[in-house]
Amino acid sequence: MRPTHWLYTLPLRIRSLFRWNRVEQDLSEELQYHLEQKSRELVAAGFSPEEARREALRDFGGLEQSKEICRDARRVSYIQDFLQDLVFGVRMLRNSPAFALVAILTLALGIGANTAIFSVVHGVLLRPLPFPKQDQLMMLWEKDKDGTRSNTSYATFIDWNRLNHSFDGIAAISFWTPTIIGTRDAETLTGFRVSSSFFDLLGVRLAQGRNFLAAEDVRGNNFVVILSYGFWQRRFGGDPAIVGKSLQLGTRSYTVVGVLPDNFPSVLSFDPRRAADIYTPLAYDATLPYACRDCRHLRAFARLKDGISKTQAEAEMNQISANLFREYPTEYSASGVILTPLKDYLVGDVQTALWILLGSVGFVLLIACANVANLLMAWAARRQREVALRAALGARRTRMVRQFVTESLLLSLTGGGLGLFLAWGSVVFLHQLRLANLPRLQNVQIDATTFAFTFGVCLITGLAFGLLPAFRASKLDLNESLKESGKSTAGKERHRLRSMLVFADVALALLLLTGAGLMMKSFVRLLEVKPGFDPSHALTLTMSLWGPKSEDAPAVAFYDQVLQRVRAIPGVKAVGIVSQLPLGGNLDMYGIHVEGKTLPNPEEDPSADRYSISPGYLRAMRIPLLSGREFEARDVAASPKVVLVNETMALKFWPGEDPLGKRLRMGDTKGPWRTVVGVVGDVLHRGLDAPHTLQIYLPTAQFTDSTAVLAVRTETDPIAVAAAVRSEISSIDPQVPVSGVATLDEVVSASVANQRFTALLFLLFGVIALLLTAVGIYGVISYGVSQRTHEIGIRLALGARRREVLGLIVGEAMRPALLGALLGLFAAFGLSRLLTNLLFNVKPTDPPVFAAVLLLLVGVALLASYIPARRATRVDPMVALRHE
C-alpha cells in the first residue's frame, strides 16, 4: 500500500479502537438520519408517519446486520473481541480465586523452572564468546599414546608455528602466580604467561593501553603486564592513569601496558571462580631448560585462517606431527594432534548435564500443563450453562474457543510473569551461593533472549493446555446441558480424558523421579568415597614465597620455622607441608623411570602425582603408612635421596616384591636415583569419582617449591586456630602472602560442587514433579467424586458399605496411575541411559532406585485419591441424594 494511503486509514483505525463508543454513536446517527429522510419522503408520498417509518425500515432490510458489517469493515473487531474476552476472563478468574491460584502457581513453578534452566543453558552453552569469528578458535593438543590430549612443549610450539599454513597464528600459555608487593598486603595473583600474539588471535581490543609487542616476548624485555578489568578495579580502584605505572611483582618491577575490557572472559582458567588477574609475555627461548621438547606444560591455541576447515587443519597438523615424531622418536610417545573448538573446551563437561536438565525441566512443565488442563476442564464443566446460554444466543463456536483460549493465555502469561520472578530469584541465588564451578557462570542472567523464551513457553503452554478444554467445552449438546440434570450423563468421555491426564502425570513424574533418584544415589555414593585422608578437623592454607626467600635453602628454613611455631599452637595435633593438596585442583605430575622397568622410549613411561612433603604431613592428613618409614628430620638436601610411593604404584611396579630399597628417577632420565623408603595409602587427587593414580612423595628438603600448602590437624573446630596460624606466619615474615584458608572438609566439598549442583537440581525437579502429580491426582479425583456425590448417595442408601465405595473410587483412580507408572518405568529404563556419564558407581537401571521411586509414586497416588474418596463416603446419604 502506498504511504499516502495510511494518512487516511490509520487515524480511522485508531479512532475505531480508542473511541469505540463515539464511532458506534456516529454509525447510529448516520443510519438514523437516513431513516428519517426516507420516512419524510414517504410521508410526502402519502403514507402515515407510522407506516412511513415501518416502510423505511423494511426497505433498509436488516438494520443490525448492516451495522455488524459496518463494524467488521473497521478491521479492528478482533482486537475489541480480544479485549472483551480478556476483561471477561479476568472477571471469571476473580470469581474462582482458588482455581486461579492453583493454576497460576502450578504454571509459575513449571515456567519459572524452565526459565531458570534455560538462562543457564543460554548463558553457558548458547551465548557466543565475546570474540570475533569464535568458530575459528581452536585449542591445539599433542595426542598422547592412549589418544588423550596432552599439553605441548615450547620446542614443539615453535615448530608448529613455523611449519603450519592453516592458522593465522598459534599462541602458547602457561600459568603464572606472581606475588604483588606494595603499600597494601602482599597478595598472590592468578595469571598467565602468554605469547605476544595471544590477545590478537582472540581478537580482543584492550580497554586501555596497548597489547604486548613481539619485542616484549623476549627474555629480558618481558617486564610488562596487562591487567584484567576486575583486578584493575579491585586493587587500583580503576585508576584511569594506570597505564605506564609500575608494579612490584616479587623482586621485579613490571610496567602496566594495558587493561582488558570488562567482558573479557578468563577463558583458560581451570577454576572459573578464579579468573586471571594479570598477564605477562611468555618470553621463552630455546636454551631454557624448561623449553625442551618433552617439557609439556604449555597449552596452545590457534585461529584458523579464513576458509580453512577444522578437518583441513587437523590433516596438516597430523602430517607435521608425524614428521616431528620421525625426527625425535624418543621425545614423543605418539604422533598426532587434537583440535578442540575453544568453546567446547570451555564448557565440555557440563554440556550433557545441562541439556539433560533442560529436558527434565521440560517434563516438569508438561506435568504442570496436564494439571492445568485438567483444572480447566473441571472449571469449564462448571460453566456448562454459561456456554450453552451463549451458544443458544448465537455465539459461534470459534468465538467461544477464542474466549477459552484467551482465558488460558491469561493464566499462562500470569503464571509466566510470576515464573520469571522465580527464575530471576534463582539466578541471583545461583550467583550468590556459587554452588557450582560452572564455566561462564557470570554469563547467566535473565535477559531479552530468556524473556523471549519465557514468552514463547507461555504461549505454547497456554495453547497446549487451553485448546483441548476449549474445544470440548464449546462442543456441548445444548439441550442436554441447559437441563439442570445434564450432570449425571456428562460421563464417559470426560472421565476418560481425566484418566489420561492422571496417566500422563504419573508417567512423567516417574521418569523425573527416577532421574532424580539415580543422581542422588550417585551423589551419595560419591560422598561415601574415602579420599584416602581424613578431611574432618583439619585446616589448610597456601603460602607463597617470592624473591630470594623462594630459593631452596631459605624456603626450607622458613617452612621449618612455620612448622615449629604452628605445632606449638594449643589445639594443634599435627602439622605438615605439601606442594599440592589432593582434590585441591592442582595437577602436578612427573614422569617416573623405575630402575630396570623403563620402556625403550622413556617418553612412554607413566607419570605420577608428585608431592613434596615435610615430616608430619602424613600424620596431619592421616594418610596411612603401610610399610617402611616416614620422612624424618634427617632427610635433608645433602642426605641420600629418598621417596615414598603409594600402594597403587607399589603394586604396578613391584607386584609380589618388596618395594623398599628399590630406586627410581623422576622427571628427566638423567636425574638422581631416589630410593623407596616407604609405602603409603592411595589418596584421590583429581576427584572423588576419579580412578587411583600413581603417586610419589619427596621430602620438601630434597625437592623444594616456593608455594606450599600447610595442613593443620586440630582437636576441635579447625577454623578456630586459623587466626593464630596466620599470625604465626606473619610474625615470621609479614611479606609472605597467605591464601586459600579453608578446612579440609571444604576442599573436599568444593571438589564435588558440580555434582552436588546437578544432583540438587534433579532432586528439586523430582520434588516439584511429585508435588504437582499429587495435586493433579487429588484434583482429578475430588472433582470426579464431587460430580458423583448423588450416585454415591444412592449406593450408600441402597446398602453399599463405605469400604466398598471407597475401594471403587480409589480403584478407578489407581488404574490409570498404575498404567502410567508402568509406561514411566519403560520410558525411564530407556532414557536413564542418557545419565550414564553423570552417574558414579550406579547403573542407569539400578533396581533399588526404580523400585523405591515406583513405591513412592504409587503411595502418593494412593494417598491423593484416598483423601477425597474418604471424604465423599463420609457424607450423609440423605444429603448426598439431595445434592445436585
Binding site: R2, T4, H5, W6, L7, Y8, T9, L12, R13, D26, E29, E30, L31, Y33, H34, E36, Q37, K38, D59, F60, G61, G62, L63, Q65, S66, I69, C70, A73, R74, R75
Partner: protein
C-alpha cells in the same frame, strides 16, 4: 431477490466512487442519486449501501465529515480522497476494458 449489484463484483464500489467524484454527499443523497442515475435498473438496497460506504472509507478511498445539510440537520458527508481518485481512474479503465470485452463476446453472431 436478485440485486443488480450482485452482477459484477465491485460494481457498486465503482458507482459510489464515481458519484462522489462529482461532489461530496451524505448517504441518503447517495441512495437518491443511485436511483436517479440508473433509473430502476440498479436497485441498491439501503442495507448494502452503508456497509459499502464504510468499507470504502476504511480502505482510504473516501473520507467522511459531519456537516449540516440544507435543512440544517447534521449528516455524514463522504468525499473522494486523492488515493481514491487514482483508484477510481484505475477501476473505471478496468471497467471499460471489461465491458468492451463482454459486449464484444455478447455481440458475436452465432455461426
Amino acid at each position: 431477490m436478485s440485486k443488480p449489484s450482485d452482477l459484477v463484483q465491485g460494481t457498486l464500489d465503482l458507482l459510489l466512487l464515481k458519484i462522489l467524484a462529482l461532489e461530496p454527499m451524505n448517504g441518503y443523497a447517495i441512495s437518491l442519486r443511485l436511483r436517479q442515475v440508473s433509473g430502476d435498473v440498479l436497485q441498491v438496497s439501503d442495507g448494502s449501501l452503508y456497509p459499502a460506504l464504510h468499507k470504502l472509507e476504511q480502505e482510504g478511498w473516501i473520507t467522511a465529515e459531519w456537516k449540516p445539510t440544507e435543512n440544517n440537520r447534521r449528516a455524514k458527508f463522504y468525499s473522494l480522497t486523492p488515493p481514491g481518485r487514482k483508484h477510481l481512474e484505475k477501476e473505471s479503465a478496468n471497467w471499460d476494458r471489461l465491458s468492451a470485452a463482454i459486449s464484444g463476446v455478447v455481440k458475436l453472431k452465432e455461426a
